[in-house]
Symmetry: C2
Subunit: 376 residues, 2 copies
């Protein structure tokens, strides 16, 4: 079965949407934040811990799993769900972002991207067909088309060329796609140029994908530009298909982009920040290594309902992180993932109540400790 | 309340004992293996995971907790149980072994041991009184007397001197001990000299400790010598008090020393080995990094009932350890701890059935894949 997106409600004052996605591995509500399990494990966490955060879906990286352990081993294990003991929905990316951000030197041709294996130096070629073949074998619930993720800054000329290539690659991937239990998303590129985003959306929609991703964000662009990119994409995407904004997970960015019509998000930040001692609170991002927490026998956040906040103090986590004990990273990862998912739960509530702008106003006031001009 | 040791049964053919220890944080059966939570955390595991291995009691290190976060912070948190969210029995060592093995340069005087803080170079002095004061504040269920752990090799002359010092230190510690909810153990030293072990036991028994530890083992001595040291200690210890063999956790050593009358054991090996990819099986110790496990979709050990063996394959754990994902270390730590505790469960059963020598015979045959001469 392909995934089904049900649009349940539109927020009165914005483009925010409340929805539900049915998959072969369960149904979840949107907006939703997706924890990242790069190498078939959400760093430091067990599948049960990920689920206890009320995660609806997780992401795994095609690029990493292609190189280690290899898609054939995952396939022989019975697919990604069985391999990693996770029976909830899983989305795989195309490998495109990683090839562009991690693998150097690279050479982009019409055929695909040539680059060196970061572990053994072997010459590799990732093509749209290969990306789909790998993902078909990984057997995730949702696969991504192979796209070119254009960095920032860039020229309009280059983006024009690149969008056309991304469209040709999307078509090539769709033509070889062969897994009836997997859904395939098209990826909208076009940087900050509305006409290019519009063109890309229109061409992808003609190919009739099961959902649409918004790419070219989280590459170093200013926030205002990111929000514009999302606006220029959502505006031209159909109501009845899910919209996934790739690589974005900053709390305020989740809020701003939900307001612009995004349904799902992913980002490594909650687990990466955890490894450096950072934790989110409604009053801003803190670092548990701060000396003031040495004798702070309260939880990370009073209103949080996560496992960590139920059972552990800042003093203990401060000690663990200082001593480089992995339980510390794990406790912070649980809290940070739960924080972002709790944020999406609150956004869902705000959409139901048609007060998402008020929610944003109050969030910013508290998170950044600053007044903002108005509630719009 | 002080701990209570109940001797339930002696095995017919050996000195092996079946017992039960009551503490303020629960009762557990002996023989028992104790996982080590050096820095107030059993490396990579949550308290729930430690308990799920059927652990009866865990150990925490006084030396490490003294240096980080400091006993006063643990005390302010409400003691070690609250600090680390572990409501089962906890034993603390005296810091003696760590001062001798980790802290260099050191200077042993009658007063105590002078050494440098490994983290900041500060000059420190650990005395029998200080060790007890720290442990009283940590508020573990069972505390250890501060002893001198003599290394291997050594001269009889030095061991003679050292045993007398250890006895004077035991007395000094007992005199300042001040925590009515904590029990205090004396430590038997004397290396491989039966008369010195006997003398040490007799003098400690006069001081009337709540239990007795056997020290001077796991310092590089040959196995035969270790077993002799244990024999020469257990022989002179009272039946109605618990016997704890410090730092020993090799499966065959657990079996041999249970046969000689030991009740509890601790060792960092199950978690340390896990971090390097090793796992125990009844057929010997294996390394999951071995290429043959790359496509092995079976559990670590068929007959194991641990969380890891219930849900994960060698192929997946191979992948995790190769990719340095901490979930891999965690899954192997769970298995290894459960393995050693399962071993003590089987030994308890063998004591009940009076067939521990047969158990040893079969264990050795399978674990080392070699025939042994006879069943005695």
């Amino acid at each position: 079965m392909k995934i089904k997106y049900h649009l349940e409600k539109k927020e009165k004052n914005t483009n925010a949407r409340l929805g539900k996605i049915e998959t072969n591995h369960g149904t979840f509500e949107t907006p939703m934040f997706m924890p990242v399990g790069t190498q078939a494990t959400v760093k430091t966490l067990s599948p049960e811990e990920v689920k206890d955060c009320s995660s609806g879906i997780i992401l795994a990286n095609t690029y990493h799993l292609w190189l280690r352990p290899g898609e054939d081993i995952v396939n022989k294990a019975g697919g990604l769900h069985k391999f990693m003991n996770y029976d909830g929905p899983i989305l795989t990316d195309s490998g495109g972002f990683q090839v562009f951000s991690l693998a150097k030197p690279k050479d982009i041709t019409e055929e695909g991207v040539h680059f060196k294996n970061q572990y053994n130096g072997d010459k590799l070629l990732l093509t749209p067909e290969k990306s789909i073949e790998i993902q078909n074998k990984l057997d995730s619930d949702i696969a991504m088309s192979f796209d070119e993720c254009v960095g920032f800054p860039h020229t309009r000329e280059y983006v024009e060329e690149s969008v056309e290539r991304t469209l040709r690659w999307a078509k090539r991937g769709k033509d070889v796609f062969n897994n009836e239990n997997q859904s395939l998303f098209g990826i909208v590129q076009g940087a900050e140029f509305e006409d290019l985003r519009k063109h890309c959306c229109e061409e992808l929609i003609k190919m009739d994908f099961d959902g649409y991703s918004i790419g070219g964000t989280a590459v170093g662009e200013p926030k205002d530009m990111q929000y514009k990119q999302v606006e220029y994409s959502c505006k031209y995407l159909p109501d009845d298909k899910v919209r996934y904004l790739m690589g974005v997970g900053d709390p305020i960015d989740i809020i701003e982009n939900v307001i612009r019509g995004v349904d799902i998000f992913d980002c490594v930040s909650p687990t990466r920040l955890a490894r450096h001692g950072h934790f989110y609170t409604m009053d801003g991002k803190m670092n548990v290594k701060n000396a003031k927490y040495k004798e702070d026998f309260t939880s990370l956040e009073k209103e949080c309902d996560c496992y960590t906040c139920k059972h552990y103090t800042k003093a203990y986590i401060h000690h663990l992180i200082k001593c480089e004990e992995t339980l510390g990273q794990r406790l912070l990862s649980i809290h940070n993932i739960r924080y972002l998912i709790r944020l999406t739960e609150e956004l869902r509530k705000a959409i139901k109540n048609d007060n998402i702008l008020e929610y944003r106003y109050n969030f910013i006031k508290r998170y950044y400790k600053k007044e903002i001009k108005d509630k719009k």
